[in-house]
Amino acid sequence: MTLETMIITMSSGMLEAIKIFTLTLAGALPFGMVIALLKKSRFFVIRAIVSAYISVIRGTPLMLQLLAWYFGPYYLFGFNIGNWRFPALIMGFICNYSAYFAEIYRGGIESIPVGQYEAAEVLGYTPAQTFNRIILPQVIKRIMPAVTNEIITLVKDTSLAFSLAYAEVFSLAKQISASQASFTPFVIAGTFYFVANYVVEFILKRIEKSMDYYK
């Protein structure tokens, strides 16, 4: 197999990796905010549930969580999991990354001085207006470095989809490497992750810079 055929064969896997990455971000970025806000709920029970959720997600391997999402419905309810592979993968990724994003958001929200809330309150903003107009923009600026870290990790973590035998770039690399007795597929996969992250880093740096106009 020539290098060119390898790259062409693996390119479908690259698209799959990008698909996992995009869907996970689209789900986890907003869902993380929901979890962060629930963790600041007035109700003890809600706070306790959310804390337990975050502990379990952070305390177990993502690979194990993916396996649980995939096989769980069959073992627990006897469901047919024929078409469940991709949804399970995305659910696993979103739930895992939401927990991490939630903690980043929470840290950001708690770092905003109480005086900002008080000034907004005295000026007659409603709690929702205060959060959306005053608090959230400042939170986003503060958490950008931590979020960038997480997003870069996500690019590399898409390779864990191989544990559900999902044909993304790393799974394909393993297959081709085995059949062709060659290490080259891994070099191609490595290059793919590096280039993808280079692009991600570039974009996120631009976003971070766009918020440089204030301190």
């Binding site: 005086g115 000034a119 005295v122 000026l123 007659g124 903003y125 204030y214 301190k215």
Partner: protein, 252 residues
């Protein structure tokens, strides 16, 4: 009466910070509240501005009750929507300015009037530019708070409060976070407002300023108003031993 507070009680974890304080402010009056740290003067302002909830007593703005204690001894506030209406009666200037760092100076002044009072951008901007001119910082309209000195930031904070067209303006130690050389420019602005008969309550440690600007001075200690009167009465002829003792510290 613009503000009337009756029998205000406030505790923090069982510690009585305000013990049955009553005090009112008339239109055009400038009232200074002085006293040692921990005397409850800032807490009184924070109760008046609903940043703290009172444990007993009554607060009225423009003759309307915002909170009262009923027969059973429960302290009842009006609902959140009503409270926001009461908030339009007053403005508060904080010790730490608390400007919104992500908004330009102009935006700091026009955002709340537009969002919470539904004024047009044109009207809000006109009011804001007039205020900035008056504060001597019209050239900073497009700057961001971090680019300004402490004194300039505090003048923006005063302008932001005035942009809401309040009936009364509260100041919580407005110069305590400033270098001595910057306090002058802030005090000058407050003095100017006093000359225009703006109704104000100022918690301050600037005795000379309190004496020169106020119509009335309250001396607070240990959660009660120990003594009050004209600046001449309180500063030059204090009746209470606690007041004399406090003022002696400043004479030294």
């Amino acid at each position: 009466m613009i503000l009337q507070m009756n029998n205000i009680q406030k505790q923090f974890d069982g510690l009585e910070v305000l013990k049955d304080i009553s005090f009112g402010v008339d239109s055009g009056e400038v009232v200074s509240i002085i006293g040692p740290s921990g005397s409850g003067k800032s807490t009184l302002l924070r109760c008046a501005t609903f940043l703290e909830t009172i444990d007993g007593g009554e607060i009225q703005y423009m003759g309307e009750k915002a909170v009262h204690t009923d027969e059973s001894g429960r302290t009842v506030y009006v609902n959140q929507k009503e409270l926001r209406r009461f908030r339009s009666y007053y403005g508060l200037v904080f010790q730490q300015f608390n400007l919104f760092p992500h908004y330009s100076i102009l935006r700091n002044l026009i955002d709340a009037p537009m969002v919470t009072q539904h004024r047009s951008r044109e009207e809000a901007t006109e009011t804001a530019m007039d205020l900035l001119t008056k504060m001597g910082i019209a050239d900073k309209a497009d700057a961001y708070p971090f680019q300004l000195s402490g004194g300039q930031q505090q003048r923006v904070a005063i302008a932001r409060a005035l942009a809401m067209k309040p009936e009364i303006l509260f100041f919580d130690e407005p110069t305590s976070a400033l270098d001595p050389e910057l306090t002058g420019e802030v005090l000058k602005v407050i003095r100017q407002l006093a000359e225009e008969n703006m109704t104000m309550v100022v918690v301050t440690h600037e005795m000379a300023f309190a004496k020169a600007v106020s119509n009335r001075v309250l001396f607070m200690a240990g959660g009660v108003v120990v003594e009050q009167g004209t600046p001449e009465q309180v500063f030059d002829n204090p009746q209470e031993e606690r007041t004399k003792q406090f003022l002696r510290v400043f004479e030294r």
